[in-house]
Assembly symmetry: C2
Homo-oligomer: 342 residues x 2
Amino acid sequence: MVTIRDIAKRAGVSVATVSRTLREPEAVRPAKRDAVNQAIEEMKYVPNAIAQQLRRPRHEAIIVIVPEIANPFFSEIVQSIENVAHELGYRVLIGETQGKQERLDYYAEMVTSRVADGLILLGSLLPSVVRATVKAGKPLPMPLVLACESYAGLNCPHVVIDNVAAAKLAVQHLIEVGRKKIATITGPMVNSLCADRLRGYHSAMVEAGLTPEAGWIVDGDFSIESGHSAMLRLLELESRPDAVFCANDEMAIGAQQAIQEKGLTIPGDMAIVGFDDLRFGAYASPPLTTIRQPTNELGETAMRMIDAMLHDKPLTEQSVVLAHQLIVRRSSGAQERLASNK
Amino acid sequence: MVTIRDIAKRAGVSVATVSRTLREPEAVRPAKRDAVNQAIEEMKYVPNAIAQQLRRPRHEAIIVIVPEIANPFFSEIVQSIENVAHELGYRVLIGETQGKQERLDYYAEMVTSRVADGLILLGSLLPSVVRATVKAGKPLPMPLVLACESYAGLNCPHVVIDNVAAAKLAVQHLIEVGRKKIATITGPMVNSLCADRLRGYHSAMVEAGLTPEAGWIVDGDFSIESGHSAMLRLLELESRPDAVFCANDEMAIGAQQAIQEKGLTIPGDMAIVGFDDLRFGAYASPPLTTIRQPTNELGETAMRMIDAMLHDKPLTEQSVVLAHQLIVRRSSGAQERLASNK
DNA sequence: CATATTTTTGTAAACGTTGCCAGAACGCAA
DNA sequence: TTGCGTTCTGGCAACGTTTACAAAAATATG
């Protein structure tokens, strides 16, 4: 390995001059600067980032933690984080937990051990160190921003959407297009965000004077398969619903498949609304009505927040709530209803 | 920041003893060991990974570079890399290039500058340093494994599937189920793998005595949208094909959508075969016949290869070719054909 | 040309670990 | 108690940078 000392020797200068040539070239006489650059070129010197980081207080690196990289919803957020990060001069390291606390803690430790400066957390798990300090009512043990989800009692900057209101909007849409027997397929209830969406469902039903029947609330785990099997359960009910609100698009896609397998039509026999606005949803058959989460803004805002924290700029907001949006496509039967009205 | 020296002072021992307590606890007397551990506990000491890495030759970290994290095909491979990596004791950092040479070089430099030990490269771009050494006929400048794609003239371990044979198999399947007017939607031709798939298409056609007409070969860019627009172009042809082989599943999904928008049926009017076996393909409507790439094995093999390189174990194979598999679902009309035969 | 001022350079001390080496403490036998 | 072999421990030099500070060189001023 060629070091700064080798370059210094070759160029006939001191190591300080080499370092300066790299860090602030204006501060060194052109003649020496050229000699140094030439030596660097000749010997193919690349500064050892580890050694640099040992000296420098900050590394301009952040870690983004995702439960599952293969989930397009998360990967879209990651993508927008990446874009802003590069613009701000950070490198982004992505870590995947697959729901395992152990892996999450592993990545979190990369921050305490100074490999990265801060953490953006997607998903619902918290690093144990964070949980511990929260319990003790102490300040955060590291620069941290939560995207997607927030925690009651955790005083940590976060960027979210209003899941209660969004779910409510989805269900209200089903009600507006004339459905009354509305079921819901929920996500794993350990996520507070799933509880919120269920609350939104209830709230819309109650306000419309509708009562969810027993069996209309089935739980899935966000996977296509779970949506499929949850829907099969709904279809066997004696009082079969005529619409379903799914807590994410993947389950909605699985549900649509199940409906069509049983020879029923969408939206004729069953209207569907999903959540997330996955790319694939627009190409499902029929195209999926859904709630759009602003993945771009989520990622961008999270990145800007962590940047602010790392540079001790005051955060304008501890809690940012972004706007969601109802995307109406064919699966909810809005068109059909309009047609029959005329 | 609490350092090893703080712990040494608190526990009344030397820094060496603290370090040893952490590295090889058996080598230190229980009494001191306990004192040290207690101090660590009390002061919440976490070793500075950067400093450790400066001393240690190896960091047990690898970088996986992906063109696009949101592409489920890549993210599935990443997932299996992660699994094996954790088992082997590596940490995995994921970098996304979005097709930009500059970002790729950036991550590659993390290896030359010792942040990570090696690189697994998915996709078709090569780091400039690698390209340079290859041109010059020199050995690789860093431990590197290619997954998905290999390069003529680049003597680098890689794990791939036989894209020519796989594409050929897909097209032969269409021929077997009775189609003769078979078109193809290709990926971006900068990828050698797309050229391979096109070659497989040609080869199957020629062997069956079929001649692709002008206009039957349209190019896409692997996105759903491009599959959609490519299919619209195919549908406008005077001699409309009755089957299409798409170079990946996302384009196939876009293509199916376009067909149905035009009021045509799948597989009746148009049979479709995709490539990759994305999770979503099985839930498309109709479910997509496709070529399954063994994403798990791809990732696992790549990870084991880089591990071998990093530990100077001789690689059993420089070039691993994994088996592909035809997955027959409804979109290619195999069932219908069977039915009409009986 | 001497002196004062500014600019450029080099020396050396960090940064937080690890691990070699020498020496201290211990255990055991005589 | 002494001597000897083992086991533990501590001091200190790395690892490759950056940067404060002092020293040297260049430039300006009279």
